[in-house]
């Protein structure tokens, strides 16, 4: 089977302004959402307590609220269904540092009258740990980006590095925008998903860039946009296929993976779509706008080649004993 057969290059770069505009609009919308609505920070980052309770039969949500309101600590706690009608999640901003007071036992006791229940999960994060996790998460993101920037500069050229990192920021920002839009609860797993997007989207971009790098050497055209068009078109089949396989695999995780993994899978799904889009329509135009010069690159390559050849010549002469 063959779906994407290369016939002639698509004229992508000619349309790059349109895609650029689309990306800018998406970026602005995302930033607007992040700044106005803000993240729905979960207990991992905001601190607080989350208790997941499973009932035999449907959970009596009103009764649960009533029973919790009787206690000072749990007054006004949010109670929502979780995955099914039998399970609820209770969230409060409070956390207790005292070992002797067991949260699970307390909730068990408070809800005794509401039915047969089982405390299935307790996540209690003190404010201090929450803020530590926030800083750590942010540091991780920054360090990953710097590491990637360095590696790409080393393997390609600085313009490639800038273009790939800008594409990355584009993807992460839009993914964050979607997280805010759909009120996904941001916990550690979402951070991991964002970092995975970082790696994944870059993976896509690198493969396109690799082809462009190769194109600059082999395609005998002076015009960068023509080279990019041809290179991107040639990788189009791979980019779409891999994205599709990964997308469907993550989709199974989203559908069948259970409620706990939902936000994680959702973030990845968004990331895969945006990452694929950006590697084709965002990263390459940026490369062009940054003024990557084909002749300059070829000259440099030629100088490098010449130097290597000279070295080889010297070595040969040395080995032959002529020096």
């Amino acid at each position: 089977m063959e779906v994407f057969k290369y016939k002639k290059p698509l004229s992508l770069m000619a349309k790059s302004k349109r895609f650029g505009l689309l990306s800018i609009v998406m970026l602005l919308l995302s930033l607007g959402l992040i700044l106005t609505k803000g993240f729905n920070l979960g207990v991992d980052f905001a601190g607080g307590t989350l208790i997941q309770v499973k009932y035999e039969g449907e959970a009596p949500i009103e009764k649960i609220r009533e029973a919790l309101n009787a206690d000072k600590v749990y007054e006004g706690a949010s109670v929502t269904f979780f995955g099914s009608q039998e399970e609820v999640v209770i969230r409060t901003k409070m956390s207790s540092q005292v070992l002797g007071e067991d949260v699970g036992a307390k909730v068990n006791q408070l809800l005794k009258e509401t039915g047969t229940l089982e405390v299935r999960r307790v996540d209690m994060i003190g404010a201090k740990v929450g803020s530590e996790l926030r800083t750590k998460g942010f540091t991780a993101m920054v360090i990953a980006i710097i590491g990637i920037l360095l590696y790409v500069s080393f393997r390609f050229e600085w313009r490639f590095a800038i273009a790939s990192v800008l594409a990355l920021l584009h993807d992460i920002t839009i993914a964050m925008g979607m997280i805010v839009l759909f009120s996904v609860e941001v916990n550690l797993d979402i951070l991991a998903a964002l970092l995975t997007i970082l790696g994944y989207s870059l993976n896509d971009t690198i493969i396109v860039f690799d082809r462009i790098r190769e194109g600059v050497r082999t395609i005998k055209k002076p015009d960068l946009s023509a080279i990019i068009d041809e290179s991107v078109t040639r990788t189009l089949s791979r980019t779409t296929l891999t994205s599709l396989t990964t997308f469907f695999v993550v989709l199974t995780l989203f559908i069948f993976g259970g409620e706990i993994i939902h936000g994680f899978a959702f973030t990845l799904l968004v990331g895969i779509v945006v990452g694929t889009y950006s590697s084709i329509f965002v990263a390459s135009p940026i490369l062009m706008w940054l003024g990557f010069s084909v002749s300059g690159f070829r000259e440099k390559e030629a100088v490098k080649l010449k130097r290597e050849k000279e070295k080889e010549k010297m070595r040969a002469m040395y080995e032959n004993g002529t020096i």
């Binding site: 993976n203 995780l253 259970g258």
Partner: protein
């Protein structure tokens, strides 16, 4: 005709290695190294504890003061007004000028990490900053050991207690599910088990009910209450000795068959205790545990040998937990919860079920797609994919890595991404075939052309994974580890391994059957 090449041998070796070492994990056999299931999959309690280290410093100062008192008494140095002040200093006054040299020498020799300053005959003893830092670190280290000892005696399966970062203690108890067990476990950890033997101030105790705390302080005393009744005791603030000199504690029974705790003191403790009881005959000594008076027996005679008994109306299981706590040593500072995660075993089982289902479905999806799209080349890629899965399991089993729920997600994701390398390679091969190159040439050039792209792409993903391992905690680390192993394994199986298979079967490949081998139409052959 080509025979077996090193690449195929390597792949075969990787496959066998993968299968052999993942069998123990897959069959859950008794022997062999297995993947450890994370707490989120098997259920259990995870806690991050902190300590109130300023209390550790306070009690260190207290024990310094006790040492000063004991030394001076022992050496017949006459002193007055020995007290601990709000600012953390110990002050005292010597009455005899001739004792100054002896006293200073004693303190310098016996009490480390302090600075002694003198104003005429008034002395002030202060802890150095380094000593404070050391005391805090000691308190953490000691808390880790103590909590570990207590949990080991509690009788639950393989609890983990470890220091995390500079000032936190990680406690993990897999398999615990009963809320009562959790509550009891937390109480056992929380227990300071700070034992003190204190002299009752018999001269002023009559006025204890009307005395304020500040007034008591001015006499160098503190007011403590009885563990069960509201009765108050006035005792000397500086204890005779504390639990650090205790060597053993056991549950026993007294004459009326009530549970009691018998404990023994080490040599130095026994000597101090003997000396004290000798001097204090006719007065009372309070046995104080965690600032509650358990008993205050009258001293009838000098007690040598260092065996002491605590009675205090406890039940047998209370006495038992108390003895464990005493034996494992006191906590130098109170322990607090920084974070707690509990996953019930049923939720863990649900997570395993649903993530395995997702893994299997995702895997099937990819495998079927590859065969449909690439024909035989897809099957070859699938062999690599299966090898990759086994390798991940085998490596994780061998290094004893923990499989968490995000780790499962990492494997699912790896399945999606591992075929990426083969997609890239196959696309390259097809391209060359379309240009009319021979199969052998197309395969060799295809692998060469694809290599840099795959390598660079994998390295960048690895960078993200490594950052996650370094900065992530618990479950997130698990995700990054599986992803990292998956990427590394895919370099072996998807690049080297499939290349080997192609070289091996190349003689059988027929340019007339490109659709069967690579899933493309014939027209490439010009």
């Amino acid at each position: 005709m080509k025979t077996l090449n090193y690449r195929v041998v390597l792949l075969a070796f990787a496959l066998i290695f993968g299968i052999v070492f993942s069998i123990p994990s897959l069959t859950q056999s008794e022997s062999g190294k297995k993947i450890i299931l994370g707490l989120d999959l098997q259920g259990g309690l995870h806690m991050l504890l902190g300590i109130k280290s300023e209390i550790a410093i306070e009690s260190r100062i207290k024990s310094m003061a006790a040492t000063v008192k004991y030394m001076f008494d022992d050496e017949d140095i006459i002193f007055d007004d020995l007290r601990m002040n709000e600012n953390g200093t110990i002050t005292f006054e010597l009455l005899d000028n001739d004792d100054v040299v002896k006293a200073t020498a004693l303190i310098e020799k016996e009490i480390e990490g302090t600075v002694l300053s003198q104003k005429s005959l008034k002395f002030s003893l202060e802890m150095t900053e380094e000593e404070k830092i050391r005391t805090k670190q000691d308190a953490i280290g000691q808390a880790v050991d103590t909590i570990r000892n207590r949990l080991n005696e509690f009788g639950l399966a393989e609890p983990t207690v470890a220091k995390q970062g500079a000032d936190k203690i990680l406690v993990e108890v897999p398999g615990i599910k009963n809320r009562e067990d959790i509550a009891r476990l937390k109480k056992l950890i929380e227990r300071a088990a700070h034992l003190q033997l204190m002299a009752v101030d018999e001269d002023r105790i009559a006025r204890v009910d009307t005395m304020s705390e500040n007034e008591a302080k001015s006499f160098g005393n503190i007011i403590l209450t009885d563990v069960k009744t509201p009765q108050k005791y006035l005792v000397r603030a500086i204890p005779v000795l504390d639990g650090s000199m205790l060597t053993d504690a056991k549950v026993g029974f007294d004459e009326s068959n009530q549970p009691v705790i018998n404990f023994s003191l080490d040599g130095q403790g026994a000597k101090i205790f003997g000396d004290f009881t000798g001097k204090y005959v006719g007065k009372r000594m309070a046995v104080v545990l965690d600032n509650k008076v358990y008993s205050a027996p009258n001293i009838n005679e000098r007690i040598g040998g260092g065996n002491v008994q605590i009675s205090g109306n406890f039940t047998f299981s209370e006495a038992q937990d108390l003895a464990i706590a005493l034996r494992s040593g006191a906590l130098l500072a109170p322990v607090i919860i920084e974070s707690e995660r509990f996953i019930g075993p049923s939720l863990g089982a649900d997570s395993i079920k649903s993530s395995s289902l997702a893994l299997m479905l995702g895997f099937l999806l990819v495998v079927i797609f590859m065969v449909l799209y690439y024909g035989m080349a897809g099957i070859i890629a699938n062999v690599a994919l299966i090898g990759n899965l086994f390798l991940i399991l085998a490596v994780m089993s061998l290094v004893g890595a923990t499989l968490t729920l995000p780790g499962m997600a990492g494997i699912v994701l790896t399945v999606g991404m591992a075929v990426d390398a083969n997609v890239i390679i196959n696309e390259r091969i097809r391209e060359l075939l379309h240009q009319g190159k021979s199969i052998g040439k197309s395969i060799e050039d295809g692998y060469n052309n694809a290599f840099t792209a795959i390598f660079d792409a994998n390295v960048t993903t690895l960078i993200a994974a490594i950052v996650l391992v370094v900065y992530g905690t618990g479950a997130i680390k698990g995700f990054a580890i599986t992803m990292g192993i998956g990427i590394a394994a895919s370099m072996l199986t998807a690049i080297v391994g499939t290349h080997g298979i192609y070289q091996w079967i190349l003689p059988k490949m027929d340019k007339k059957k490109l659709n069967f081998w690579f899933g493309i139409k014939q027209e490439g052959a010009k």
